[in-house]
């Protein structure tokens, strides 16, 4: 299964990786700016604030990851935890 692989693949080239990341930055900036250009209709008390969804997505994601790291400290056990009897 593990043969040496000489072929250069798409993301072996760091330039392609940074291309993807840069495109993400650009898309994010554009999406954020669109909030100030387009006239959006408001459905509830929060989403009238400009940039609400962008900030919410960013912060929610960070909270999820940071909370999960703490959660891991509480629930993580060795891989054979259920296989051995104390």
């Amino acid at each position: 299964m593990n043969q040496p692989d000489q072929k250069q693949h798409l993301f072996d080239n760091p330039r392609n990786v940074s291309l993807v990341i840069r495109s993400l930055y650009i898309v994010c900036i554009l999406l954020f700016l669109l909030d100030f250009i387009l006239d959006r209709h408001v459905t509830n008390e929060w989403d009238g604030t400009r940039g609400f969804y962008a900030l919410f997505g960013l912060i929610a994601y960070i909270i999820i990851v940071l909370a999960a790291i703490q959660w891991r400290k509480l629930v993580e056990r060795k891989e054979d935890y259920y296989d051995v009897d104390d």
């Binding site: 693949h9 940071l66 891989e79």
Partner: protein, 566 residues
């Protein structure tokens, strides 16, 4: 095509019998033709308001009750059974083929059941037929896990039966229509549905057993059981407010587990609960828009979840492992599988133009309409969580990230075909939601592609992705490690056995102590007895059983004699 009143489970049960006695191409043909013909039968012959009954003794079982709700679930179950059958076409294992067909048939039986007893029968058949898909893995872990799964599933059935009988006692009806939470019977039925729908704390069978099943078996499992439960809740408990809160919890707690879980199929199992949460919320809201959203979301969810499980099944099949810590760089050897997985990831994350977007947004809109503003925020939070574990983590850790050095082949052709069909449907529903909307049970005007909505969803998702890039850059993203994370199954896998063991040990020790105390007391008593004057008589000897029995017999005989003489 066929008789109008032929219940949809019948072709699958006949096919299961035929699959038992055939091999090779004939069997493949049967397995593929069954969902196609069954689906065409449903589409062409069966219209709403058809009812089929069969009488057993005095009781009338309603084997088929077709309306727009059951029909829509019927269609998607046929489509999913067809896709899963193609995906499993290379498998030469009679057990899996037969149980797959029986399982799909039982689920259809449950969907079209018109009364609670028929529902119970198929509910239990689903449990029994599906466990073989877990056991077919043949590992010690799978067998134990399957046993736990079976216990939970059968308990759900028992609760359903008990609840149905109590409900009958209370209402005089066994019809499977709106039940609502009133009386102990309805609560038991609610709990029975709740187990199969993976309500919080009742969910651990799902994350325990699904990742232990065979690569192809998990695809079948991901489709039927939980969605049958969603259907049952939508039928029996629409508008039950408790469900909104249960659903909101279901959307949230799995995302934290999914972030730290190493087994990528277990990540998908957690993600499955999260998606069920959205549907349960919709049922709890209970308006036409919310229920349509639930049904539509079940429809698109079955396809993208099956697609994701198929792509991970293909990885497991080819790479031999599904641990995120051991994978990476697989896009080099499995580029097509990677691309198809990304389609599933975009669909589940609800990117515009993919299926999740057009269905989940109906539930979100219904939440706002009914004034659940704070819970709407919770669901929005959960949506960012979906992007994390299913949208980014699964494809990223399997196919990209650092190169694990694993070089293997692309997935087999049948797997690629199955995944491609699912992916095509995900995109088709995303692009042309009207075809799905036209099938929905209730008449509601809804259109997802409205500028504000598209923009806000894109902002949410792209900025969440930005957070991922940033966390990765500063090294805060949690690494994947070989470990297990304890969940509710800890109760019966660790706490209960350990408690039982220590109680048993304590009782055993106490028993020994009591025995010792008695022994020594008795011995002392015997000694002091012998040393008295009475000790000289025969009956005081320390081997009294024989002589005692003899004298008892004599006394009894005398009594009988005396009695007879009287």
């Amino acid at each position: 095509m066929w008789m109008t009143d032929l219940p949809p489970f019948v072709p699958f049960f006949i096919a299961a019998l035929l699959a038992l006695i055939t091999r090779g191409r004939v069997r493949n043909l049967i397995v593929l033709a069954t969902p196609v013909l069954g689906g065409l039968h449903l589409w062409l012959d069966v219209s709403p308001n058809i009812v089929t009954t069969v009488s057993i003794l005095e009781y009338e079982l309603i084997l088929m009750r077709a309306d727009r709700l059951s029909l829509l679930f019927g269609y998607i179950f046929h489509i999913a059974a067809f896709i899963a059958a193609i995906f499993a076409l290379h498998v030469r294992d009679t057990t899996q083929t037969v149980s797959g067909l029986l399982y799909a048939g039982s689920a259809l039986g449950a969907i079209f059941a018109g009364d609670l007893i028929t529902l119970f029968i198929f509910w239990e058949l689903m449990a029994i037929s599906s466990v073989f898909l877990v056991w077919a893995r043949h590992s010690e872990r799978a067998i134990r896990s399957g046993m736990r799964y079976l216990v939970m599933q059968v308990s759900s059935g028992m609760l359903l039966l008990a609840g149905a009988l109590l409900h009958y006692d209370q209402t005089g009806s066994l019809a499977f229509d709106f039940i609502g939470l009133q009386g102990i019977g309805s609560w038991l039925i609610f709990l029975a549905f709740g187990i199969k729908c993976a309500f919080p704390l009742l969910h651990s069978w799902l994350i325990d057993a699904y990742p232990e099943a065979t690569p192809t078996g998990t695809v079948f499992l991901s489709v039927f059981t939980t969605k049958t439960a969603v259907y049952a809740l939508a039928r029996g408990y629409p508008g039950t407010e408790l469900l909104v809160y249960i659903g909101a919890v279901m959307t949230c707690f799995p995302i934290f587990y999914a972030v730290i879980e190493n087994d990528l199929r277990r990540v998908l199992a957690y993600s499955l609960i999260n998606q069920l949460g959205f549907m349960v919320c919709g049922i709890g809201i209970g308006t036409a828009l919310a229920l349509n959203g639930t049904v539509a979301h079940a429809f698109s969810h079955i396809l993208y979840k099956a697609l994701l499980f198929m792509s991970m099944g293909a990885v497991l099949y080819r790479a031999g492992t599904i641990k995120a810590s051991d994978l990476g760089g697989l896009y080099k050897s499995m580029p097509k599988t990677a691309a198809l997985c990304i389609v599933g990831a975009c669909s589940i994350s609800a990117f515009p133009l993919f299926s999740g977007f057009v269905s989940k947004s109906m539930i979100m809109a219904a939440m706002i309409e009914e004034g659940y503003d704070y819970l709407w925020l919770v669901l929005l939070f959960a949506s960012a969580g979906v992007l994390h574990h299913a949208g980014i983590k699964v494809p990223y850790f399997a196919f990209f990230t650092h190169d694990s050095g694993i070089r293997t082949q692309e997935a087999p052709l049948n797997m690629l075909i199955a995944m491609s069909i699912a992916a095509a449907l995900c995109i088709f529903i995303g692009l042309q939601p009207l075809y799905l909307y036209a099938l929905l049970p209730w008449e509601v005007e809804y259109w997802p592609y409205e500028m504000t909505h598209v923009l806000s969803q894109m902002q949410l998702l792209f900025f969440a992705a930005l957070a991922f890039v940033w966390l990765n850059k500063i090294g805060l993203h949690p690494p994947e490690t070989h470990a297990v994370n304890i969940d509710a199954d800890w109760l019966y896998r660790k706490l209960m056995p350990d408690t039982a063991r220590s109680v048993y040990g304590f009782l055993k020790q106490t028993g020994h102590r009591i025995e010792d105390t008695f022994d020594s007391t008795l011995k002392d008593a015997a000694k002091s007895m012998i040393s008295t004057r009475l000790g000289r008589f025969n009956l005081a000897a320390s081997w009294p059983t024989g002589s005692m029995a003899f004298w008892l017999a004599v006394i009894l005989g005398l009594f009988l004699l005396a009695d007879a003489m009287n």
